[in-house]
Symmetry: none
Subunit: 401 residues, 2 copies
């Protein structure tokens, strides 16, 4: 029996509330001068108090040594094995622009590109046209209907776009049209199994119409598609945990990921404080909240140690809004580390704290990488966070008699 | 997806260098009088400095409570699940004498034995003849050719030998000729599947010829074979990690194991210092080095606590040669524990230290079993060492977007 099935068999509904705060890219590396990481340098009285009253540890989101992307990192935090639950490239791209993908939709990642008079690709990125231009051109292509299938075309950034095909009987098991090189014509999309014949045919007709419509829009006079994929049939968090879950995230990618596991996405302002106010406002309506804080990861990726410290401090201040509501279980962690010193995601395990009345507190008195090392939760896979949160909310019944 | 496949999909080549030092049987048990293990009693300023700058932990090579042999212990350190990657008895024996086994070879472990006039086995070990006698008799048998298949016969120690059959179309799936008891005739080798008919036939002809050749060499007047096996088709370390790996080991078994995972084996002198000088000499030519130190395990197996301490101190001194070359990642650990008090391999987890610029150092200030207990790597399976080393060398790309 896999873990998720076990949890599903034990989960029971109750009024107890669980709040999962994800401080994106939370873990860091120490500055040479001070020996302190971003989290250790930050002044975080609320987090430290929660750590002192709670139980701490370090999580690996995918596995030791593995640097997680945002999608596998979050899936693990939601309790989904990120090696088993796979998100296709097209779906991920749609997710990243907050597109409300339906089951049966087929999404593809697209590039505007340049072709010459003979139809050969001369630039796979159409000279990296502006996002504005991309938006304008997507509008021209949006809504193309072919044999009952509608094409929904959305801009992403610069030359990037998403095409979602919506209609009956579509199967995503087709090849890319993107040849991944210049000097050749775009490839014909072909079916990898008979059920995908219709999708291949429609994708090729879409390409033909696109070529006609974009004539005269050099350098963006053609579209290349890749990563055709369907919205994955993940069991929802309601099915597994019997929770009514809500997501609060100011960045589209995280709203999209939350939707893929069946969370309701709440409208929110962009600041951390506004996110917490959104939580307060909807507090009565749900028993699980995922609240996502993006600024830490962005600062880490920019290599800006001090800004990451400031975002952590901002999060800490806003946390008092949550603490005053006294949820039954609070979990604070990250989806991966993003040390400013490495200017990107990294493999280092992420500090986690869990506070509940029943957590069996350890002796950790502050929330930091080094303090969490000796925490009562030890070092463990992030997929275990949800079972622990459920247990601490007294939402899991006994296993076996 | 299993871990090794994941790592393979993420590995990228770079100039960064990884050095894995295996101090065989490193872990120990404390002497009653002092409460200190061999490693704790040893004066190890270099190891302690690396531990202080690096991150430490304890590894289980096969699993908690499992005492590993050298082969599974090393496979785990190289990142191969020792429960999944199996080495047949014949292959292991060939490996142990540094025999350069080719794919398609079939190796069998052999015993010289004694048979009486009626052909019944009277001593399965031929009175434990000397290694010299064994060597002389192997020379008589070496090179027997049967239907295009050549028999390569090599002495091991006392009555033990290895027979490698080399030729086309051999399959190792045959039964032993060794009856594992006296008072019976040696068994006929039989095929366990049709593809192995040829191998069975040749093994039986080999036995018949052996019997003739050894007439008059009582007590060693026959050979019993068991554990027919082929060189396993392990993915190489180059395939998995995109590394160019080299092995430095003064004992044949470890050179053999390194060869099975595709390492290049370097010629080296026998002392620890000479091994490190070999590393220095070939430093530019490879990006991964496995350096094996045998004396600790031998001392542990002999129950010689003080000698084990001395070998650890010798290793510590030689380590300064490596440190001066400033490799990107240094890992020091063992393939298992060999406490002098137990006079053999044991199940106790093995201290490990990993040093790199990006390791997120913990507060461990010395390299010892008890200090490693509170290390930042925690207690983890030895198969995770290579992914961690690769990550710290920045040789693994992000998983998922």
């Amino acid at each position: 029996m896999v873990n998720q099935e076990l949890i599903k068999s034990l989960a029971q509904s109750s009024p107890a509330k669980i709040v999962l705060i994800v401080i994106d890219g939370l873990g860091g590396l120490p500055r040479l001068e001070t020996g302190k990481t971003e989290l250790e340098a930050a002044n975080t009285p609320n987090l430290d108090r929660l750590a002192a009253k709670g139980i701490c540890g370090l999580v690996d989101t995918v596995g030791p040594g593995i640097t997680p992307g945002s999608a596998p990192g979050h899936l693990a935090l939601f309790g989904y094995d990120p090696l088993r639950f796979n998100i296709g490239r097209g779906v991920l791209e749609a997710t990243g622009i907050d597109f409300d993908l339906q089951y049966g939709d087929v999404a593809a990642r697209g590039n505007f590109c340049t072709i010459d008079e003979s139809g050969l690709v001369t630039d796979r990125r159409a000279g990296r046209i502006s996002t504005e231009k991309c938006t304008e051109l997507c509008r021209l292509l949006d809504g193309i209907a072919i044999g009952g299938v509608k094409s929904l075309v959305r801009p992403v950034r610069e030359h990037r776009l998403v095409v979602v095909f919506r209609g009956d009987g579509l199967c995503a098991d087709v090849t890319d049209s993107d040849p991944q090189q210049v000097g050749v014509v775009p490839k014909a999309v072909t079916a990898l199994q008979p059920e995908a014949d219709k999708m291949a045919d429609i994708a090729n007709q879409f390409a033909a119409q696109t070529k006609t419509i974009l004539t005269g829009h050099h350098p963006a006079n053609m579209v290349l598609l890749r990563g055709f994929s369907e919205r994955p049939q993940f069991p929802t968090m309601s099915e597994i945990y019997k929770l009514k879950p809500a997501a609060i995230a100011s960045y589209p990618m995280y709203r999209g990921l939350a939707r893929l596991v069946g969370m309701e996405v709440l409208q929110t302002g962009a600041s951390i404080e506004q996110e917490f106010m959104t939580l307060k406002q909807h507090y009565a309506g749900y028993d699980f909240f995922f609240l996502h804080i993006k600024g830490t990861d962005s600062a880490g990726e920019d290599g800006d140690f001090d800004r990451k410290v400031k975002v952590i401090e901002e999060a800490d201040r806003a946390l008092s809004i949550l603490i005053s509501m006294e949820p039954d279980v609070i979990v604070v962690t990250g989806d991966h580390s993003s040390p400013a010193l490495l200017k990107g995601h990294s493999w280092h395990p992420v500090p986690v704290l869990l506070y509940s009345k029943w957590c069996r507190a350890d002796r950790v008195g502050e929330f930091s990488e080094s303090a969490c090392l000796s925490g009562g939760l030890g070092r463990f896979p992030a997929t275990q966070i949800m079972p622990l949160a459920m247990a601490n909310a007294l939402k899991l019944t006994k296993f076996g008699a």
